[in-house]
């Protein structure tokens, strides 16, 4: 079994993903975080991150396919900071997952949903145009829907380490070691903007105070190649 230091490997995931970073009203986020966690922000200035995952394979610690071996899901996380210890972690607020085996999930925040994705890639020579349309429909009929079109050229290799905790139980900790290729589609902090078309809307009631029209999209990152190993510490 692989370990990170002395901590055992919990599971791993190979996927393709799209990350949308928003600036939303902080007061709407504060009440969602468990004490003593505070709302932080990503380097690009986002305080709320919506992540769409197309999971090619989830594996357990022994390398076998997990019960939710393939799935697609949308996660909503807040970059958090704990003032008394200085710890930084992504606080998982909610996951909408297509695979019933992923409910309630490792953070105990997952709800079942119908998750659709359409992707079109058109390449000519070494240039590629990507179109994405993702829809998440929860059992009550409420939806999250986003469309994105962008031109893609050179991706970057960006290995990362981060920590994830659950908003419903912050004692749940998952430590991520990620090997990935990323493409900055939009980054308001650097002025990068390769977006050709973008639209995001949600009618999900529990997110209505976050997406009330004052939110601002500050970053879009596409990861066409993503490998994550998760440890307990």
């Amino acid at each position: 079994m692989a370990t990170s230091g002395t901590a055992p490997l919990l599971d791993s995931m190979i996927a393709e993903r799209i990350l949308l970073g928003f600036q939303v009203r902080s007061e709407a986020l504060r009440s969602r975080l468990p004490a003593p966690w505070r709302v932080g922000s990503t380097p690009a200035g986002a305080n709320l991150v919506v992540i769409f995952n197309e999971v090619f394979l989830n594996q357990d610690a022994g390398g076998a396919p997990a019960s939710d071996a393939t799935t697609r899901y949308l996660g909503v996380v807040v970059p958090g900071r704990r003032p008394d210890t200085g710890e930084e972690a992504s606080i998982n607020l909610r996951i909408f997952a297509a695979n019933p085996q992923a409910i309630p999930g490792k953070y105990r925040t997952s709800l079942p949903a119908v998750v659709r994705r359409q992707q079109r890639l058109a390449s000519e020579g070494l240039a590629t145009t990507v179109e994405e349309h993702c829809t998440v429909r929860v059992p009550g009929g409420e939806e999250i829907d986003f469309r994105l079109r962008y031109s893609r050229d050179a991706v970057s290799h960006v290995p990362t380490r981060s920590r994830g905790r659950s908003a419903v139980d912050p004692a749940i900790l998952r430590v991520y070691r990620v090997d990935q290729l990323t493409y900055a589609v939009r980054d308001a902090s650097t002025g990068v903007d390769r977006v050709l078309d973008f639209a995001f809307r949600t009618t999900v009631a529990e997110l209505s105070d976050l997406f009330d029209g004052t939110e601002r999209l500050v970053t879009i990152v596409a990861s066409p190649w993503y490998h994550r190993r998760v440890y307990s510490e």
């Binding site: 190979i14 393709e16 197309e54 090619f56 394979l57 594996q59 390398g63 396919p65 071996a69 393939t70 799935t71 697609r72 297509a98 695979n99 119908v114 998750v115 659709r116 994705r117 359409q118 992707q119 079109r120 890639l121 058109a122 390449s123 000519e124 020579g125 070494l126 590629t128 050229d153 050179a154 991706v155 970057s156 290799h157 290729l181 066409p224 190649w225 490998h227």
Partner: protein, 232 residues
């Protein structure tokens, strides 16, 4: 000590075929002989066509390697050395969209215009993909078209030595880690792929694509990681 050369992260489609054995034999340098897959999903395949979309290739220092991005097609023959019984995969021919990859480290690659259109539609755990790839060089081209239902891929790691047919001393060792989804296998009766059409008009490959070739299997690789080493 074996020199680490580069690392590649990409996606692939592998089409394995059963082609004319006498024609394949003529392509291999002495004393190498064709070694078709003996059993399993690819049983009987003696020619491999690999379409690769290289997302990023990095050199040993982590910088962008030459031909760091690419869209290419490669033709390979599985072989063994008649005397030593060493195995190797011989590269016959490649068409590449990146000028930096031609003629390439195996001296078999030609520059081509490249075009690809891929559509994926998924709902919950079901996914259907249509893919069309076309590479055209001065003396013909290679096209692939298929539609398939994605399945649960297998995580697979392997090592192989690749040699050039123009000079078997041009060789590299690859250590690969990949997700492999076999969407069509004649030997195993897997038929999640529909409307598979491989059209090869490249002048250097026409003798192997004379109408007698048969597709044995099609494998989709949505995630691929490969380290490349020099051969001692």
């Amino acid at each position: 000590m074996v020199a680490f050369l580069n690392v590649t992260r990409d996606t692939k489609i592998q089409v394995r075929l059963r082609a004319s054995l006498p024609t394949l034999r003529r392509r291999l340098p002495h004393p190498w002989v064709v070694a078709p897959s003996a059993q399993g999903l690819h049983a009987g395949a003696n020619l491999i066509t690999v379409f690769s979309e290289v997302l990023l290739r990095q050199d040993a220092g982590g910088g962008r390697a030459p031909a760091g991005v690419d869209l290419s097609v490669t033709f390979l023959i599985p072989a063994i050395h008649a005397e030593s019984q060493d195995s190797a995969t011989f590269i016959l021919r490649a068409l590449t969209a990146n000028p930096e990859a031609a003629p390439g480290r195996y001296r078999v690659a030609a520059l081509a215009s490249a075009w690809r259109a891929r559509t994926m539609a998924g709902e919950d755990e079901q996914t259907t993909v249509t893919d069309k790839i076309l590479l055209n060089a001065d003396d013909g081209g290679v096209g692939l078209q298929l539609e398939y239902d994605a399945g649960v891929p297998m995580r697979t790691q392997w090592s192989t030595t690749v040699r050039s047919v123009v000079d078997s001393g041009l060789a590299r060792t690859y250590r690969s880690d990949a997700l492999v989804d076999v969407v069509y296998s004649e030997p195993a009766g897997i038929a999640r792929a529909r409307d598979v059409r491989l059209n090869v008009t490249d002048a250097l490959m026409r003798d192997l694509f004379d109408g007698s070739e048969r597709i044995v299997s099609v494998a989709v690789v949505p995630w691929f990681f490969r380290e490349e080493f020099a051969v001692e």
